[in-house]
Symmetry: C2
Subunit: 252 residues, 2 copies
């Protein structure tokens, strides 16, 4: 490998935001327009690929927590594409933010191990934006002065949830499948069953849906409404603000 | 007030991101370019005002936790500007994200109370991006599967911090001033004094500085380095990744 290869190989780990193409950053747009290769998956809005017709576009096909290509294979592919043809500009386009449950750290480590320069282009995380598009601020004076973000794919369990008592607003990503268990564990860990809860599906897109309930019934509300992934669940007093602040009207 | 006024009055609560103008969203850029009035404060990058030379620009002068205009006055001013001259497009430009300790909820409620349509344009929050610009992912497989965001201006205290034991990565905004007390309370609440910690000042800008230590000494490291606001402090095992992933080279 020559220095010339290394000097032109460059990887950008780019956050695509929650879905609305208007929430892409200027830097992300620029990187997509200049890219030689773009590796994308189902969590990034496919419309964004119109920004990079010049690039080789590779679908690495991760769909939520059912990857069709292993993370290790994706890491290796990023490195391989960056080193091809004398060094290329690779964009790894990821839904939300690369460092919020995005496995971006692993991809950055793979680049570092291969000696390939890498940058992070943060994206709007649905951890905050999904709630915002339902008119729910994750923090609000007199209501919530802290929030935590967790995934629903991990089974954190009652014991771990007891260790969330100091956090006002809880945000669960990818939690629809395990919502019954999560809600039950949170209640068992001491959180009030009447705490308001909302689940937002396809946040910020024309397909956005919001369902509301309490910690005690949110799982059945979600099931009855037929809400499925991708969705974000918010638990906390701030959910009460949805009624007054629900500003977003999805237009199909 | 006529319907015509109401139909043209419109308020956008816009997140400006952590500082790097490249982290502005496309939607934010569009709203600034179309604005009749822009209300900004010290937490948003002043360079962004070049995008809206056509707009009346009002400095509402909040500086961190020392507001020179009260939040109530800002709320009233947003409403007043939106209703002026038969209804105007007002952008309230805020550092970071409007709903992450941004008082955006209060501003949105003021608009709702006055019957003025309002939208939220999420921004990149320094809660995640400051760490990212120091090469620190707030989540990382095998290291951190949850994170919480708190402010250092609130005195959460030892009891509340005991209720954070289930959270892997802690992010404190506006914490420099109270960092001694926060670190001591976290240790008293059971967090390991040797937990790695980093403070990032002026994240994503040419002035970015990162200092590192442990929970036990981060406050003195920060003081000795002369780091002051605006800064973000990250506490957790993920801080160890800084060494391998520190990609951002600030250029003055």
């Amino acid at each position: 490998m020559t220095n010339a290869v290394l000097s032109s190989a460059f990887v950008s780990l780019v956050g695509a935001g929650p879905g609305d193409p208007g929430l892409l950053t200027l830097r992300a747009t620029e990187r997509l327009r200049e890219a030689d290769v773009v590796l994308f998956d189902a969590l990034a809005n496919p419309e964004l690929l119109h920004l990079c017709p010049q690039a080789e576009q590779v679908d690495v096909g991760k769909r939520g927590f059912l990857p069709s290509m292993s993370q290790e294979d994706i890491n290796a592919l990023i490195v391989q594409k960056a080193l091809e043809g004398g060094g290329r500009r690779v964009v790894r386009l990821k839904g939300g933010d690369p460092f919020v449950f995005g496995r971006g750290g692993e991809e950055a480590l793979a680049c570092a191990a291969a000696g390939i320069p890498c940058e992070i282009v943060p994206g709007i995380s649905s951890a905050v934006a999904a709630a915002a598009y339902a008119g729910i601020p994750v923090t609000h004076r007199g209501m919530a002065r802290s929030f935590a973000v967790l995934t629903g794919t991990d089974q954190h369990g009652q014991a771990a949830y007891a260790g969330l008592s100091g956090v006002d607003t809880l945000v669960f990503l990818m939690a629809v499948k395990n919502l019954d268990r999560i809600a039950a564990d949170l209640i068992a860990a001491g959180r009030d069953p009447l705490t308001p809860a909302a689940t937002i599906q396809w946040a910020s897109t024309p397909q956005q849906r919001v369902v509301k309930g309490t910690l005690a019934d949110i799982a059945s509300v979600v099931r009855q409404a037929g809400v499925c992934a991708p969705a974000v669940t918010v638990v906390g007093e701030v959910v009460r603000l949805h009624e007054a602040l629900n500003w977003f009207v999805p237009q199909a």
